[in-house]
Amino acid sequence: MPIVTTQKAAMPAATMPVATMLIAAMMLLSLTQADASSGALAFSRSYLSLNDTSTASLKSISQSTFFYYPGLYVKGYGEAESAVKSSNAESMIIEQSANFSTISSQHLGMVSSHIRARNLTGLDVSLLGISSAGLQEENNLSLIRSESSSLAMAYPGEGRYAFFLTGGHYLELDFCDLPFFSAQTLPAYEFGFRGDELRLDEPLEVFDQRIDLFFALSPDYQSSHAGYSLSRSVENDGIRCQSEMEYGVVRG
């Protein structure tokens, strides 16, 4: 029986600064633990929607750790940072999320950035994911435990906003389908995507871009698969351009 824990923080519109209308700033944190230790999933999402602003930034940091008997931990760290500029006061939406999961002993992660803006003149996006596993002393070996924390910092041109969530849950272990366990020190993997800076003399009327940085580690933690996918749609002066790219590196 899956357990889902969801935590949500939202900023009421009444606290918005005068110059910039903050439509919504929201953060979600979700932890899911499937039956026993067969699967665990942590998910966080930061959402920033603005009106009448020409610049905005959002930085999201998320970390989740799954602890397993008899002291194995699998940790995922995700960081997404987006900065958007437009030629004049416009509406824009920045949405960032991080996923970490251990399913069938495979360790998966994804850090995403989704930006929608009008009259865009500048954009910076960087995504970072770290996955590590190792041994740690556990006080209570009869439990597996998941912890997840997330932090979002929003800069909507005027004022700054920070949200922090943390959560976790505990579940009885029934000793089945444990992740790979080894006494040796396991390496940590760092996966990063740095988007090329976009600086435009003439603004793009419509801009919609999603970038996912994904990574996976094999059950023995010796093989990795990492990559990114891009989907970008722009419109300007009656011309529409859709770009897509997938790039992945499999290391045996």
């Binding site: 889902v4 824990t5 969801t6 935590q7 923080a9 979600l28 979700s30 899911t32 999402r45 940790k75 996923n99 999961s101 998966l108 992660g109 994804m110 995403s112 996006v125 590590s132 190792g134 997330s150 932090l151 910092m153 800069y155 004022g159 700054r160 906003y161 920070a162 949200f163 922090f164 943390t166 940590a188 993997y189 760092e190 990063g192 995507f193 740095r194 988007g195 090329d196 003399d201 003439e202 940085l213 994904f214 996976a216 698969h225 990114y228 970008r232 300007n236 009656g238 011309i239 529409r240 351009c241 770009s243 897509e244 790219m245 997938e246 790039y247 992945g248 590196v249 499999v250 290391r251």
Partner: protein, 330 residues
């Protein structure tokens, strides 16, 4: 006295076949115009190292022109144009390592008026330039291949135009292509440039479409390499009238192993302060405001985004796919 309509049928049949030669090239040119009281039609051909045959039929109420040709060796050039009334369609291509062929026809009768032109090109490890044109748009392309092959077909009519090409890497340590495809019409233009060079298995496609409602270009590249360092060039760029260049890849991927990782590190209060300070500094903010809100706990069954299912059946290496589509509406 019974008045009889005057009926005239004129047939013109032309075959141009250059003789064999050891070196150099054979140039040909030919043009034909026919007309009756209702319509007019013409065709013209110019080129090098070609076979060409044409047929013209002229009657009181019928005009018909047909022409077809092909290259006789790997180095050839042609430019073929058909005109029917005010409508003009054209196909032209040049290669130094491939085969070219085309076929066109124009008919004007009482109940119909139509013209169409189709062409094909096949190139291996060489160059190809092409031009396809009708009354509204002109599609031009250039292609350079290295240990790769490419085929392209185009169909042109006075009101529509489409072309589709596909390529694949052959053998050799370094393989790739450099291709440009552009379209002009209605006082606007679109262009896609793409290039790949490296030790990789590779496939790519390119195409154009034009109708009365607008036109488009598209290009896609996909492949695999054993090693990221085996790819020396991989890029795609789309541009157009008033559209800033759209460039792929959009950034860089870095994968590394960390030898020092602190398992006990968490996003704690100290971490928060450091991150916020850095964030505020990056955004030139003087003060710091914190808004803390009550956390509301609820159950939402399907909040999660999807994490790609990474099968481990894939062979080690680099996998890539780039795609770009440009559209211009009228």
């Amino acid at each position: 006295m019974i008045k009889q309509d005057l009926f005239i049928r004129i047939l013109v049949f032309v075959i141009l076949v250059p003789g064999s030669f050891q070196s150099g090239s054979a140039e040909i040119s030919f043009s034909c115009s026919i007309y009756n009281t209702a319509d007019s039609a013409s065709e013209s051909i110019a080129g090098e190292n070609l076979d060409f045959s044409g047929l013209a039929i002229l009657e009181n109420d019928l005009l018909s022109l047909e022409g077809r040709g092909s290259a006789i060796n790997n180095c050839s050039f042609y430019s073929y144009e058909l005109a029917l009334g005010e409508d003009r369609i054209q196909s032209a291509a040049r290669t130094d390592s491939g085969l070219l062929a085309w076929r066109g026809s124009a008919t004007a009768a009482i109940d119909r008026k139509e013209a169409t032109l189709s062409s094909r090109a096949s190139v291996f490890d060489g160059n190809l330039t092409s031009l396809y044109r009708n009354s509204n748009v002109a599609v031009s392309g250039s292609l350079r291949l290295l240990n790769s092959s490419f085929q392209e077909a185009a169909v042109i009519s006075p009101r529509s135009l489409s072309s589709l090409g596909s390529g694949a890497a052959g053998r050799g340590d370094v393989r790739g292509f450099d291709q440009s495809l552009s379209i002009e019409g209605f006082e606007r233009w679109l262009r896609v440039d793409s290039a790949f060079l490296g030790n990789a298995s590779l496939q790519w496609m390119s195409g154009s479409d034009c109708s009365q409602s607008g036109y488009s270009l598209r290009m896609m590249v996909l492949g695999r390499s054993d090693d990221p360092s085996g790819i020396s060039r991989m890029e795609m760029m789309g541009s157009g009238s008033g559209l800033p260049p759209q460039i792929l890849p959009p950034g860089r991927l870095n994968v590394s192993r960390l030898f020092a990782d602190d398992p006990s590190s968490t996003i704690d209060a100290r971490f928060l302060e450091e991150e916020l300070a850095a964030f505020n500094r990056d955004n030139s903010i003087n003060a710091s405001l914190f808004h803390w809100y009550n956390l509301k706990e609820s159950s939402i069954a399907n909040l999660t985004g999807s994490v790609p299912d990474q099968g481990w059946g894939r062979k080690a290496g680099v996998y890539f796919k780039m795609r770009m589509a440009l559209e211009q509406g009228n």
